[in-house]
Each structure stands twice: as C-alpha cells, then as structure tokens.
Symmetry: C2
Subunit: 299 residues, 2 copies
C-alpha cells in the first residue's frame, strides 16, 4: 500500500445557513481517502460500529480505496454534529459521540506496514503514535491534530512531532501550539519542535508550506458556492499526500505542486455535503482545476 491513512469514519450531522444533512458519511479518514483515491491506491485504518452500512464501504471501494484496515466493533459508529455560521469561518460543534472510536486501538494490516506514505489524521496523539510505531520505515509521515490535544496532551503531541516529517495545522492551532500570533513565526516555532515542514491552512485565505528548504504560499481556489466546509482540511491532506505518493517524491518542487493538488481537492470537498463532490470529481477534473489554479498564481 503506497499510502495509508489512520483516522475516523463517521456519521456527520451538519447544519449550514442554507441547508442541513443528517448522518452523512464523514470522518477524517473518509475525506482523506476519497480525496487521495484519485491519485492511486490508499488504504484506510479505522473503526466503525455495527450500524455502519455496507453501502458506505462499497462507496469507498468504488473509489479505489482499500478498506482492509477498517474494523467493525460492537457498538455505534462515531458521530459528530456541527453548525456553520454564514461567514463559514465560525463552526459550532453541536455534539461529538466517540462511540466505538473511544476504545479504538489501531491495528495496521500486514499489507500496509510497508507503506511509504502515512497520514495520521487528527486523534489523541498517543493513538497516532501507536499507529505510527507499527509501520516499517515510511518515507513520509504527516500528522494532523486539533486544539483539544494541544491543550490537554501537549507532551504527547510534542513527542509525536519529533517523529513525523510534516504536520498540517490551521491558523488557530499553529498559534496555540507555538504561542506566536504571527503565522510565519508560529510555523517556524512548530518546525523547531521537529517536523521538516509545516502546512499551515488558512481556509478561504489559502495555505502556506514552510520548511528548511521551502517556503510556498498559495491562495485558496475561489469556490463560488460553498455547500459544506466539513472535511476540507482532510481533503486537502488527501490531495497533498495522494499526489506525493503517486510520484513517490518529496522534493521541495513536488511539495509545492502537492499544495496545489491539496487546494484543489479541498475546493471540491466544500462544493458538496459529505464526499458527494469528491466522488464525482475524478482525476481529469482535478487536473483541470489544478491548471486553472496554476493560471491564477503564475506571473
């Protein structure tokens, strides 16, 4: 397996100012894998409850996702509820029911342990570490996290950051983790914690990549009609890592291109609920929007 993601499969209940969707297929691993699947093989490690319909796994398999690492546990699937305000930047979590994810102990399938590209989606840092330790010698490990872990599990998170190559953070997380208000200074401080690069996501304001030998800044793709921002970050990571895995290269030039692919897959994600648009928009659509985005930034 060239690319493996460890994360959640979930039912999301999302309210936007214009619409709502109940118990839609969601979760970090779902969004990541759906976005990455356009680039090549991707394996998912996660857990669902006995209430998770086969159709959902079938849907992911249809995209080419390997679900061999998805275990079914007694109990209910992880559920999350969120509500967005009209500016899309303000999100209220209405509920989080961990359910079977609470006892989740990731077991990396034998066919995945040689995976050169590994994405540790947002989870308790010790869980991320337990997953990471099962891999042989990945070429590139990237981790996501969230404000909760920065707050209550900082030591574990810092230990994890010493073991990964890259980290994806949003602006709030970067500020919280570093104690720096200025985003570039914040990203530099995060580099001091261990990773070779930081991808800093600023939502509608784009993203930047900073590392020892790379500094790349990219606007967001100007999506005209946002339907649901849920999953944008994981879809970004999926396009980013999916592209890197497909070319098996992590040189600065390739990381820069990967930023564009991540921006493109995230833009498709927010144009629909759940993975609706990610399912429809396959590689030719990705390439077409990649070229459009490239034209917006090329001197």
């Amino acid at each position: 397996m060239s690319l493996t993601v460890i994360g959640t499969l979930a039912f999301d209940t999302v309210e936007t100012p214009f619409d709502r969707r109940d118990e839609a297929l969601g979760g970090s691993a779902t969004y990541f894998a759906a976005a990455a699947s356009g680039f090549g093989e991707v394996g998912m490690v996660g857990v669902v409850g006995t209430d998770f319909p086969d159709e959902n796994l079938a849907l992911l398999r249809d995209l080419g996702v390997d679900c061999g690492g998805v275990e079914v546990a007694d109990g209910k699937t992880f559920r999350w509820g969120g509500r967005y305000e009209a500016d899309w930047n303000t999100r209220h979590t209405t509920f989080t029911d961990l359910n079977v994810f609470e006892q989740f102990d990731p077991k990396i399938p034998t066919g995945y342990v040689g995976s050169p590209f590994v994405f540790l989606a947002n989870a308790e840092p010790r869980l991320q570490m337990r997953a990471l330790e099962q891999f042989d010698t990945p070429k590139l490990v990237v981790a996501d996290t969230m404000n909760l872990w920065i707050d209550i599990a900082r030591d574990d998170l810092q230990e994890l950051l010493r073991r990964v190559d890259g980290v994806v953070l949003n602006d709030e997380e970067a500020r919280m983790l570093s104690g720096e208000k200025h985003l570039l200074a914040a990203a530099r401080k995060v580099l001091d914690l261990g990773p070779r690069f930081v991808v800093l996501k600023k939502g509608e304001h784009g993203a930047f990549l900073i590392g020892e030998d790379v500094h790349f800044s990219l606007p967001a793709y100007p999506v005209e009609s946002v339907i649901d921002p849920t999953g944008a970050g994981d879809s970004f990571a999926g396009g980013f890592m999916g592209y890197l895995a497909s070319v098996s290269n992590i040189q600065p030039h390739t990381l820069r291109r990967a930023m564009l692919y991540g921006t493109v897959t995230a833009s498709f994600c927010v144009e629909g609920f759940s993975v609706d648009e990610l399912r429809k928009r396959r590689r030719p659509d990705v390439e077409s929007r990649f070229n459009e985005l490239l034209s917006f930034i090329t001197l």
Copy 2:
C-alpha cells in the same frame, strides 16, 4: 510627467498597541508618491496649509517626487488620527480634520496634463472626476475610494467608475459596492460598473487582480514585524502604478508583475511609521524583495 497622483498630504497621529506617532507626514498622495518614486518620475497634486513644513516637501523631492502640483492654501493641513488594535485589522479613526482639503479644487499643472498614468487617490468622487477631466488622454487611470463615498455618493462614484480603467478596493469596500459577500463575485460585479480591472486588497491575506483577460491571486509578503499599517493601500497603489508607468505597458503579464511590486512597497510601508521605511528602501531593496516574494509563489 509619466505618473500623476491626486490625493492628500496630511499629518497623521497614529496609535498602535506598541507605540504612537504624532503629526507624522502622511496622506494618500504622500504614501503613493513615496512608493512610486523608486520606479521613476511621479508628480503630486494636492494641497497643504501654511503649517506644512518645507522639510516635508524637501523630503519628497529628495525621493525624486515632483511637488509642482502641491498648492499651499491659507489654513491648516489635513489631519487624521487613527488607532489600531493588536490584530492590526481593526482600525478606529479617532479624528478627521479636513482643514484646507475641504475647499480643495484640484488644478492639474500644464506639465502633468499629458500624464499617461493617473492615480485618483481616495476622495469625494466629484473631486476625483474634476481632476480626471483635466488630463488629455491618459493610457491608464486607476481610482481608489472608501466606504463613505459608497454610502453617500454612490451615483457620483458609479459615474467615475465608468470613466476609469482600474479600481483598487479593500474587501469591505468591494462587498459594500457590489452587495455581494463572496469576494470574487463582488469583484466581478464591480467590473460590470465599468473598470477593466479591479485590484482587491485583503491586507495580510494578500490581494487579487481580476479583469476581462486576467485573474491573478497573490499572498501578502509575510512581514515579520508590523509597525504601522497606515498607508499600506496607497503604497500598494504606488508600487503597482509606479512599475506600470516605468515600463509603459498594461498587458495582463505586466499587471501581474505590478501586483508583486505593489505588495512589496506595501510591505515596506508597514514596517515603519509614516514613509520612514519607504524612504530607506529604494529600488535594489524592492527588486530583492520582489524576487523573494516571487520565490514564495513559484511552483
């Protein structure tokens, strides 16, 4: 004169969370001309009171600015006061004393009327129009405006917009003028009002340029230590127009490069109070930061 600006010369009293400066040299024409002066000749049209010290005009002349269009009127010079909050995005105007600017009727000097590049800095739209009407046939006219005029002089502003080639707006102004929340949609609606292109400035989030045949998106230069954001917009316009005038070309490719020059001069502006840094950072510094910014956005 290849480039002319019509705008204010002022005394600014600025409070930031870290420092303050009383009665510093400011004004839209001052910032514009200081930024543009690195690229070639620029003439200023404006008015000062009898309290305006000769040293200020000498300072501008030292930069190569032609002050032949600056008239001295009986009375006091325009004064403005502002206070910034720690996020730099929130600015409170503490006072605006128009003084001699209130009766200002711009007279374009004979040596300026053939100017191919004209910048109408923010002012009452009828004043901008009276200035514009005195020019022969400029190659490129760009106007700035503000929320006040969108609110109380929309008809005049719309008449002006039918007569200019480009307009520079910040995000709030673009939304207010167009009635569209989405910035790209807002910019497109502004294009329908007449200009061939819109430069939409988003402060720390960069700027984009949109026109019939051009769509270019650019992050801000990541300034590490902001001292005073006053004048950033006019400094952007000065670098943008200064470069265009220096190459006497307004093709899409040149407009894109001009966006980088504007970003660079705006970044120097905010690194000091008044025009302190714009004075120090001359063309070699501009080129150096241009290349640095280019490296941040190049795939």
